[in-house]
Symmetry: C2
Amino acid sequence: MTQEISRLPVSELTALSISVLEAHGLSAVDAKDASEILVLADLFGLSTHGVSRLVSYTDRLRLGGINAEPNLKVDALAPALLRIDADNGVGPLVGARAVRAAIKAAEQTGVALALVHGSNHFGPVAPYCYLAAQAGFATIIASNATLSITPWGGKETRLGNNPIGFGVPRPDGDPVILDMALSVAARAKIRSAAKAGESIPMGWATDAEGRPTSNAAEALKGFLLPVGGHKGYGLAIMVDLFAGLLSGASYLTRVSSWQDNPDQPQNLGHFFLVVDTKRLGDSDWLIERMSDFSAIVHDTQPAVPGSAVQLPGEREFMRMKAQIAEGVDIPSDLLHELGTLANRRT
Amino acid sequence: MTQEISRLPVSELTALSISVLEAHGLSAVDAKDASEILVLADLFGLSTHGVSRLVSYTDRLRLGGINAEPNLKVDALAPALLRIDADNGVGPLVGARAVRAAIKAAEQTGVALALVHGSNHFGPVAPYCYLAAQAGFATIIASNATLSITPWGGKETRLGNNPIGFGVPRPDGDPVILDMALSVAARAKIRSAAKAGESIPMGWATDAEGRPTSNAAEALKGFLLPVGGHKGYGLAIMVDLFAGLLSGASYLTRVSSWQDNPDQPQNLGHFFLVVDTKRLGDSDWLIERMSDFSAIVHDTQPAVPGSAVQLPGEREFMRMKAQIAEGVDIPSDLLHELGTLANRRT
């Protein structure tokens, strides 16, 4: 089955996303802030976390599971430490405001951390790292998530596939951005293999009993395995502690599933650390060091002759430039659905 | 070949470590601070990063590769952002002072980051996370390191197996601490397999041409593979950017090898982020949440009946308690060597 793809200018996709959110009760400015994040995700090629998410977001907005008119409360617990009550707002709106609040604090203190509770799925991490990098800030950003992983040695999903991202700005070019979830492979890949009757590599997933399996159908009944085994498990736990527990949000099994309970608040938590690189040295200092770093990586002898050794994020920036120039690719049926959602009134 | 093991009280091991460092020119207070970190490493069972490191540290102190009397310079670039010039001091001394400086700043600002340059191998990450947790601080701590990994898709070692650690305090018990390097397996494990003529699992390492191999002997000529493939590679890059590049230290191939050039400064860099959890809520609030979190993880159904599902760091704390009660296990030949080093005068 091949999917029909439509291509449209970035500005049109942004306008469509804004219309969808406004049609579901968001103010113009809130719809714009949230849409900036989602469209950046599509530009980076992270389409599973871009405007496609508007379908579930608006479903939950209609059901009252997400608050269309949140009153975000920023509490400065200390000069460099903010706690933000997201009032159950749309995730990408919350994230956009939180990273901005952290940057504002860090302009005074050099470094600041915003811990967010009462939030929802905030899309991918990369767009937040990108926006902060454009302002000269290095970032560590993370969120907890709906359950999909079993604690290491267990056979029950009690942990989210919690994403974490890092960004370092480069004043004369693209920042270096790593945005990763903590499973070896996405569930979607296992689903494709099961459909095609193919096996999956050992190490991607377990069966329902928690035993390693290469059988894709059995794996779908089981659990995603974390990257690096106990190391990825450990990272998922630490993200949940920082973004969930310390922020005052839910964590582990206390996180409500947006799929099973779309009408309930999830109370997800996020972590936004920003570091003002302008305090570390002037622009020339950072440009020189980043250029040197980049050259050393790029000059590595490739294992496969002619292939490129890349820095994290390079593929995404290439995709972004191409899509800004040529238009963004969106499945036609999704585009149709978004058009319907934009004309709907809650 | 079985190794003869000696067991001695913690206080004796600490005194021995202090004597070794004093015999190589460190002041009493510097020797004590550095030894606290190394002995904690042994207590946690991380013996490859404990007092065994004194052999190479003192070798370099004698050769002038490490400065026995560093004058650490702490520069407050902003209220929450410190840059520390370690003046080529012994790593664990530098680390102990840096985490303390970060905590002092964070007492005012809630969150603080210390970026360190001009340093050396600082032992494992866990002891720093532990000391900060005892004072109520959550931590993200990382360091760059001597080269051992090839950038993803490459076939040259141009990146360190950079360790990163996270800690969250628990006022009524052991903190949760994750301390990980970014390779799938340690080189020592591959060396053992090669000696025994055994194969290694695919995914641990490549041969010299950067091709995946299960042949341990070929793997020794090749490269360690990062956890999660491109994800672990990405993490190693981000740690190098934060701890090395942003701190003003060396990075990638600019890091001098302590093995090849023991008489040269390495100019390694570290990253110490501390968050004052006492600003987030009172002790009861954190105790309640950490107990709940811990219970949810521990109550996970185990994949193997009767086995325990654990939080990161639990194994290390069990080992610590046992060794505090019964004494620390140290290979007898290492103990003999340390005795010789303690009686040596530079």
